[in-house]
Symmetry: C2
DNA sequence: TTTAAAAGTAAGTAATCAATTACTATCTTT
DNA sequence: AAAGATAGTAATTGATTACTTACTTTTAAA
């Protein structure tokens, strides 16, 4: 059954909307994306969006759910396939880097949400996403310390923070360079330095 | 000569404006700060701002100049006082951490500017600031590699990126925690992990 | 085939915000 | 003390934006 572009069923339309917003966020400041711009990207009039979302904040919230689901499952899959704690950390790092290289708008939206003063639903979603992420990392790091892969003196908290910060650093440099591929090209080099900071010496 | 709050001379008023904006950015999304909010923070009417700045973008631009000047001079001072390359890196790291802990609005404004699609003057200022910063780091790292403090196999580019990324990570976590002091409390721990990643082994 | 629900359009509305304007108060200089 | 320059006020303007409403088209089920 061929599906025409217009008159999509509601759920499909919501998915398309999320994808449009993620796409747009790769090109411009997420805060400046108007509902008109989203609609235009989808080949729709602005008012039509409000058939599927009660307000603009709800669109963002749906984006956050989309991101959380996709990212966490990718990370988990990467970690599970790895034979050791260090290998799992590396796989997660590269999977995360690949994800943000594919969707450069995502980290920009996330950071934009974190900046909000108000405690919006989508801000809370970002907070729990990063918290879950951090917990997963800490478990892996502890495991690595126990089995001798990682330096036993390592401060787990700092190591987890540095892991996420490294991705942040890659994202920022790619913003500076205006080049999403920057992340792909530099991810493994950055992880190598990070890794040598946490690995058991000698 | 006691100075009344109102009718400040132009240059002083501009300085106060910059400080007001930096203050406000610590409390709310920099993108959402209105000229009315800035004026209100200064005990001024909104229109008065336009006696001293041609438009809102010019205020931001002045903020960026303020930040560049203050931050780079602090970093340079920290680096010069240190007896070795590693000590200089640590001093810079801690000076930077202290700066953003004192002015939590600053990294938020910077990141917000980087997100802009348009090539505004203030965005360019951020780009050159970070570029200068990166160059300074790379020189120090090369120096450390030459004199045997740092691992000679180290990739200088990645190491510099990870340095700045670590600060970013601290900033992000402090946003998550809603606590500016988070940075002060965790800076040296994070640097320790970073440092062990770049230091010459054994 | 008819019909009702779902999805989309086009034209608004109210609110917000940067910037302007006409006027006033306050400094500074002679 | 007078007067010009500087700094500030209060009200307004035009543009933008999220959201609404009245109406139309498409889809799918009876």
């Amino acid at each position: 059954m061929k599906r025409s572009a217009k008159h999509l069923p509601a759920e499909e339309r919501r998915t398309v909307t999320v994808e449009a917003l993620v796409e747009l966020a790769a090109e411009q400041n997420p805060n400046d994306i108007t509902t008109a711009a989203i609609a235009h990207r989808m080949g729709l009039t602005q008012g039509a969006l409000f058939r599927h979302f009660p307000n603009k904040a709800a669109i963002l919230q749906t984006v956050m759910e989309w991101v959380t689901q996709r990212l966490l499952s990718k990370l988990e899959k990467a970690a599970l396939a790895a034979p050791s704690a260090i290998a799992a950390l590396e796989a997660m790092f590269l999977a995360h880097a690949e994800f943000v290289a594919e969707h450069p708008g995502v980290p920009r939206i996330l950071f934009g949400e974190l900046q909000r003063a108000e405690k919006t639903a989508s801000k809370r979603l970002v907070q729990t996403l990063i918290k879950q992420y951090g917990e997963r990392l800490k478990r892996l790091i502890e495991e690595g310390k126990k089995n001798g892969e990682l330096n036993a003196q390592l401060d787990t908290e700092s190591a987890a923070l540095l892991f996420i910060g490294s991705i942040q650093g890659l994202v920022m440099q790619s913003l500076l360079a205006g080049d999403a591929d920057f992340i792909r090209h530099n991810a493994s080099g950055v992880f190598a330095v990070y890794c040598s900071g946490i690995r058991r010496k000698q």
